[in-house]
C-alpha cells in the first residue's frame, strides 16, 4: 500500500501558481499563494474551514476569479480570455462535494454530454468511453438510471467517471467525501486511489488523513488564506513544524 507514495513524479510542470491573491469584496481570502505542481503529483490540501482551500482549487479552473498573480495550467496562462478558460476547463477535471450530477439526464448522458459537445466525439464512441469508465468505477449496471436513483457514493463515483470521460490531465477534488455516509466513503476513496496509482495529477481538498498518508506525495496545510506548511505526508503527520498545524492535527486526529 505504501508504495503508492513512492510512485514516479515527473519533472514536467503541470500547474504553476505565482504570488496569487484573491479577495471577496474587501476580505483577503487567498494571500500570496505560490505553488508548483509537477505532472503525476498527488497533493492533499487540508486546513480548517474558511481557510481558503476550496477557493484555491476553484481558482485553478477559473470557477473563481483571482485578482492578482498568475496561474498557469499545462502551459496555458489563465486570463480573462474565455478561449483560454474553456481550454483549461476541458483539460482539468473537477469533482464537487455535492457531486453536481445533472439530475435531468441519465447516468450515461451525464458522462457523454461533455465529450459530445465540447470534444465533438461521435456519440457511439463517447458511449463506449463512458461505459469503460463506468466499469472502472464499478457501476456499469447503473448506466441507464437517473442520478436521483443512486446512493451518494455511487453518485460521486459517477461524477469522477464523468470528469474522466473528458480525458483530463489534471483532476481536482473539492471535499469529495464530506457529504457521504461513512460506509460510502471507502468506495469513493478506493476509486481515487486507483486513479492515483495510474499516475493522474491530483489536487485533493479532503479531511481524510488516511487517504493523505497512503496516496499523497505532498500535504499542504492552509490557514487564513495562506499556505502554512507543506511536506511529505510522513513528516507532515509525524513531525509538524508549525504550531497551527500541530493544533489542527491534534483536533482532527484527537478522537
Amino acid at each position: 500500500m505504501a508504495d503508492t507514495a513512492q510512485m514516479q513524479v515527473s519533472d514536467e510542470v503541470a500547474i504553476t501558481i505565482q504570488n496569487m491573491n484573491k479577495w471577496y469584496g474587501t476580505f483577503h481570502v487567498l494571500r500570496n499563494i505560490d505553488l508548483t505542481v509537477n505532472r503525476g503529483e498527488r497533493i492533499v490540501v487540508c486546513g480548517p474551514s474558511g481557510s481558503g482551500k476550496s477557493t484555491l482549487i476553484r481558482c485553478i479552473n477559473a470557477l473563481e476569479e483571482h485578482q492578482q498573480g498568475s496561474i498557469e495550467v499545462d502551459g496555458t496562462l489563465l486570463s480573462s480570455d474565455l478561449k483560454n478558460i474553456d481550454k483549461i476547463r476541458s483539460e482539468v477535471g473537477m469533482c464537487f462535494q455535492h457531486f453536481n450530477l445533472f439530475p435531468h439526464l441519465s447516468i450515461l448522458d451525464n458522462l457523454t454530454l461533455a465529450p459530445i459537445w465540447v470534444r465533438k466525439t461521435p456519440k457511439k464512441e463517447a458511449e463506449e468511453v463512458a461505459m469503460h469508465y463506468l466499469e472502472k468505477v464499478k457501476i456499469p449496471d447503473q448506466a441507464n438510471k437517473f442520478p436521483g436513483q443512486l446512493s451518494g457514493g455511487q453518485q460521486q463515483r459517477v461524477a469522477i467517471a464523468r470528469s474522466l470521460c473528458m480525458k483530463p490531465r489534471i483532476m481536482l477534488f473539492d471535499e469529495p467525501t464530506s457529504a457521504l455516509d461513512p460506509e460510502m466513503i471507502k468506495e469513493v476513496l478506493d476509486t481515487m486511489i486507483e486513479l492515483a496509482e495510474e499516475g493522474m495529477t491530483m489536487i485533493c481538498v479532503t479531511h481524510e488523513m488516511g487517504f493523505a498518508r497512503q496516496v499523497a506525495n505532498r500535504v499542504i496545510f492552509m490557514d487564513a488564506g495562506q499556505i502554512v506548511e507543506q511536506n511529505e505526508p510522513e513528516e507532515f503527520f509525524n513531525n509538524p513544524k508549525s504550531e497551527r498545524t500541530q493544533l489542527f492535527l491534534s483536533q482532527i486526529l484527537g478522537h
Binding site: 476541458s90 455535492h98 453536481n100 445533472f102 439530475p103 435531468h104 465540447v118 437517473f146 470528469s163
Partner: protein, 432 residues
C-alpha cells in the same frame, strides 16, 4: 406481543408472521363512506349541507338544460315554444354557430380554410408537445405558420413564401457564422432576412402576380372563437422564447443587456394589458409614418406577446434561481460554453421547474384574448356583446351565450392544464 416475553429483553424470532388480507370491515364502500363522509357529527352535518346545495343547484339547472330548445329562429319564438316553462334557448347557438366561431364578416364560403388551419394546428403542435413523436414532423411545425397564414388570410401565395424565404436565409446565415461568434451569426441572420424581404418586396408587387392567389380576407374581417385561438396560439408560442431570452438577459453579466431587460420587464408588468391594447389600436398609428399601415391584428399580437413575455420572463427567472449553483459550476468545469450550458443543463431544468408558472401565464393569456373586444375586434365575446345580442332576434339571451363561451374556454384551458400535469410527470426524473 404473543411471541415476545415481557419479562426478558432478549428476543429471537423463530417463526415469520405470514402476510394476511385486511379484515372485511376495513375495506369496501361502506367503510369509505363512514370514514370520509360521516366520520364525526360535524362532518355529517357538513356532508348533508353539501348534498343539499348540490341538489338545489342541479334541480335548478338540469331542467333548464334538458328542456332546452335547439331549433328556433328567434328568442320570441323560443319563449313561445317553452310556454312559460323553465328552459334554455340553445337555438341561438345553432343559429349563430358560424358567427360565434368565425365572426360575422368572414366569407362563409371560405370557412373551410380556417377550419383546415385549425385541424393542421394539431399536427403542427403534436411534435412540440409530445417529444416521443418522430422528430421529422417538426419540419411541418416550422412550415405551419406560413401555411396557416395563407389559409386564413388568403391572397398571393408569394407573401408567405417570401416570409419563409427570409427565415430560411436568416437561418442559413446563422448556421454559417454562429461558430465564429454568436453576435455575428445572430445579427447576420437578421440582416439576411431583412435583405431577402426588402428585395422580395420590390419584386412582387411590381409584377402583380396573381398565380396561386386565394380570395384574400382582411384582418378586420376575422372574428369569433377563431380570433381567440389565433391570438392565443400565436402569442403563447412567441412569448415563450422571448420570455426565456428576457430571463437570461436579466441574469446577464453585461450591464447594458441586463438593464434593458430589467426596464422592459418592470415597465410592461406595471402597465395593464388593456392600456397596451388601446395603445395598439389607437396610439401606435401616431408613431408610425402616415403611409405605413401595420395590420391591427399584428399590433395586437405584438402587445399581448410583450405583455405575457414579461410575465414568463419572471417565471423562468424563478426557475433559474431555484437551480443549485453547483449545476452552473459542473457545466463550467466540464468546459461547456455559455450557450451549451444554458441549452443542455440549465434551461431544461429551469423550465421544468417553471412549468406550472408558464402554464398559469399561458392560460391567463388565452383568456385575456377576450379583452380585444373592447378595442372593437369581434372575438367570441365581442361577437356575443355586439352583433348577436344587438340583433332583434336574440336580444336578451345572456346565459346560453356566455355559458357556451365559458365552456369553450374551459375546454381549452383545462386541456392545457392536464397537458402540463402530464408533462411534469413525464419529466420527473429525480425521485423515480
Amino acid at each position: 406481543m404473543s411471541d415476545t416475553h415481557s419479562q426478558s429483553v432478549a428476543f429471537v424470532r423463530t417463526e415469520d408472521v405470514p402476510p394476511a388480507p385486511p379484515p372485511a370491515n376495513a375495506t369496501g364502500p361502506v367503510k369509505w363512506i363512514k370514514d370520509n363522509l360521516f366520520a364525526t357529527p360535524a362532518n355529517s352535518v357538513l356532508t348533508v349541507i353539501a348534498l343539499l346545495v348540490i341538489y338545489m343547484v342541479l334541480s335548478g339547472t338540469l331542467p333548464w338544460v334538458f328542456n332546452g330548445i335547439w331549433d328556433s329562429p328567434s328568442l320570441a319564438v323560443c319563449r313561445e315554444m317553452l310556454n312559460g316553462e323553465s328552459g334554455a334557448c340553445f337555438a341561438v347557438l345553432t343559429e349563430r354557430w358560424n358567427q360565434l366561431l368565425f365572426g360575422f364578416k368572414y366569407p362563409s364560403d371560405l370557412y373551410w380554410r380556417p377550419a383546415l388551419a385549425f385541424a393542421l394546428l394539431f399536427v403542427a403542435a403534436a411534435p412540440v408537445l409530445f417529444f416521443d413523436l418522430p422528430r421529422k414532423i417538426l419540419i411541418f411545425t416550422g412550415l405551419y405558420p406560413f401555411i396557416a397564414y395563407y389559409l386564413i388570410w388568403g391572397g398571393s401565395i408569394f407573401t408567405p413564401l417570401l416570409a419563409l424565404a427570409g427565415f430560411v436565409a436568416g437561418g442559413y446565415v446563422y448556421q454559417r457564422f454562429v461558430k465564429g461568434s454568436f453576435a455575428v451569426g445572430f445579427f447576420g441572420a437578421i440582416a439576411a432576412a431583412v435583405l431577402v424581404w426588402t428585395i422580395g418586396g420590390f419584386i412582387i408587387p411590381s409584377s402583380e402576380i396573381t398565380e396561386g392567389a386565394m380570395q384574400s380576407v382582411q384582418s378586420r374581417d376575422l372574428g369569433g372563437f377563431m380570433l381567440n385561438m389565433m391570438l392565443g396560439v400565436t402569442c403563447v408560442s412567441l412569448s415563450l422564447p422571448i420570455g426565456i431570452a428576457l430571463a437570461l438577459g436579466r441574469q446577464s453579466s453585461m450591464p447594458i443587456i441586463k438593464y434593458i431587460c430589467v426596464v422592459f420587464i418592470e415597465f410592461i408588468r406595471g402597465v395593464p394589458l388593456i392600456t397596451l391594447l388601446f395603445v395598439a389600436s389607437v396610439m401606435l398609428s401616431y408613431f408610425f409614418p402616415p403611409e405605413a399601415t401595420v395590420d391591427l391584428f399584428l399590433r395586437v399580437v405584438i402587445m399581448i406577446t410583450i405583455f405575457s413575455a414579461a410575465y414568463i420572463a419572471e417565471v423562468v427567472r424563478g426557475g433559474l434561481a431555484a437551480l443549485p449553483k453547483g449545476q452552473y459550476e459542473a457545466a463550467d468545469s466540464l468546459g461547456l460554453d455559455y450557450t451549451q450550458a444554458m441549452r443542455l443543463i440549465i434551461l431544461p431544468q429551469a423550465l421544468k421547474i417553471s412549468i406550472p408558472g408558464i402554464v398559469n401565464v399561458s392560460v391567463g393569456l388565452f383568456k385575456d384574448t377576450t379583452l380585444v373586444s373592447v378595442i372593437s375586434m369581434f372575438d367570441m365575446v365581442g361577437m356575443i356583446r355586439g352583433p348577436i345580442l344587438a340583433s332583434t332576434e336574440w336580444n336578451g339571451v345572456y346565459w346560453e351565450l356566455f355559458a357556451f363561451a365559458a365552456l369553450l374556454f374551459f375546454i381549452v384551458c383545462y386541456g392545457i392544464s392536464q397537458y402540463s400535469q402530464w408533462l411534469e410527470r413525464r419529466l420527473a426524473t429525480d425521485h423515480k
